[in-house]
């Protein structure tokens, strides 16, 4: 393989890992609600969200392992990489906060992730396209669920509105990262293998602005925080704690079957 083909393959691996990490980390966060949700019906709903996301993570990790070609398993990729090797967006690793913040996080991310996944369905990489196609239906539900609850909480009571606004302020600075093109991915954009992140921005902005207006929530004035972000392995302090817990057994008892 030429150097260029090698670089492109490496970029694709990182890209797929990024989608897998996004799904796993958000699924892990949502799963923290089990047994602690505001209503039993929401325990069930959170289980659904977590099941979808972790199931999708598994598919993407399996494909990443195949691209990598080192005989690793999906579990190896999920449980044996440290924080600076995780490629998830910083938005998804933010703590649950109250249920309002969880909903805001889910909505802001899903509006991006669904659009990204829909575009991936048209990828020239048939395997990647097939995985994305399997997820779109589930992600549509995630977007609908989170938008519904966004409205319900923001328009229901003053407290609900205040908390949704507060969640938005806490998270807004992490949304900019989703639309940053990654130089190493340029050949992938050009080949139609993966969508350009920047191409999703306008549609996302319009859709989010609509919901904010509908839900009587003010746009946040917060700017992107200065960080090289996920691509450089620069996260927030929250990811390390999440991983210490998630990876404990695989780290403490290496190389076993579970």
């Amino acid at each position: 393989m030429t150097q260029k083909a090698n670089d492109t393959k490496a970029a694709l691996l990182e890209y797929v890992l990024g989608v897998a990490d996004d799904s796993l980390i958000l699924g892990q966060r949502v799963s923290e609600w089990l047994g602690h949700a505001p209503a039993m019906e929401l325990d069930i709903a959170c289980s659904n969200l977590a099941l979808d996301l972790i199931g999708q993570a598994q598919l993407y990790y399996e494909y990443a392992a195949k691209l990598q070609g080192e005989g690793k398993s999906a579990d190896d990729l999920a449980f044996l990489r440290d924080g600076h090797h995780f490629r998830n967006h910083l938005l998804v690793e933010q703590p649950n906060g109250d249920f309002g913040q969880t909903i805001v996080r889910h909505y802001l991310f899903m509006m991006f992730h669904l659009k990204r996944s829909e575009l991936l369905v048209g990828s020239d990489d048939k395997e990647l396209a097939a995985i994305a196609a399997k997820t779109v239906r589930e992600l549509e539900y995630h977007l609908r669920f989170s938008a519904d609850w966004f409205r319900r909480l923001a328009l229901g009571t003053d407290e609900g509105n205040r908390r949704i606004q507060d969640g938005l302020e806490n998270l807004w600075s992490f949304t900019f990262e989703m639309f940053k093109d990654v130089p190493a991915e340029t050949p992938l954009y050009e080949a139609g293998t993966v969508p350009r992140p920047s191409g999703i921005e306008a549609g996302w902005n319009a859709a989010v602005a609509d919901l904010l207006q509908e839900a009587d929530i003010s746009p946040s004035a917060r700017k992107a925080a200065p960080t090289k972000g996920r691509i450089a392995g620069h996260h927030t302090e929250h990811l390390g704690h999440l991983l210490a817990e998630m990876q404990f057994l695989q780290r403490a008892y290496p190389g076993l079957s579970w």
């Binding site: 409205r151 229901g156 609900g160 008892y253 579970w258």
Partner: protein, 310 residues
Amino acid sequence: TEDDAAFQERIDDDQFIEPKDYMPEAYRKTLIRQIAQHAHSEIVGMLPEGNWVTRAPSLRRKLILIAKIQDEAGHGLYLYSAAETLGVARDDLVQELHEGKAKYSTIFNYPSLNWADIGAIGWLVDGAAITNQIPLCRTSYGPYARAMVRVCKEESFHQRQGYELMMAMAKGSEAQKEMAQDALNRWWWPSLMMFGPPDAESTHTAQSMAWKIKRFTNDELRQRFIDATIPQAEALGLTVPDPDLKWNEERGHYDYGEIDWDEFWAVVRGEGICARDRIRDRVNAYEDGAWVREAAEAYAAKQNQKAAVA
């Protein structure tokens, strides 16, 4: 009364009693108590398992565990619904749980301490629950019986998954096997206690049997569970922590050692090691979530109003 006689006749005839049918007040109260206790157990039971969701050691195991907990939340909801057909409100039942006035299965006041506990809970706790519940699929109150059919089906599935997890641990590394044995050591006796006090001390059994709410005594069900479980433990290569356990050819059953009923009653009284944590976790979830439920209700009311005006 005449009604009571007719009611008992229907029971004796193995007919289901339905919500609108006549029933004696004591029957209704017994059912509410039992169904609520069962519903609370499903909900509190999410906690010892939830304790390991974020640490499950593989994606597959994490998915299985989340799905199991989801089923439990679902069981809780069916069962609260079944109780509501008897004229109580779920919120009131939940309130009693939070105030420590309602009981739930003593088993959930034991901690889940290592990953094999997730297997042991599925294998033993769900196993004991199913043994208790299969006869409840024919219990005399219709809505309860029908809820039980669905619950039992899902729990059989959980039980097999739990056993499969135990097998992976018991046949794994030395460390895994040690965890599996440790889990069995800790969950064995509390599982036997799930069937309730011995028949001689069980206050409700006779009346519940007459009403066909119960169809077997505590000791009968306990024996059935032990007989089914010992060969499974042997297949795992694990040691059941009961030196008195042995097959009794004559009885055609396993004999087993003395259960520590002092411990059972202590846990019933709320002295279980996790009792305070469990109730606090549920109360916190409920109180922290109050604004969410209020906002959702207010929103629904506004939508209804809009629809009415339009």
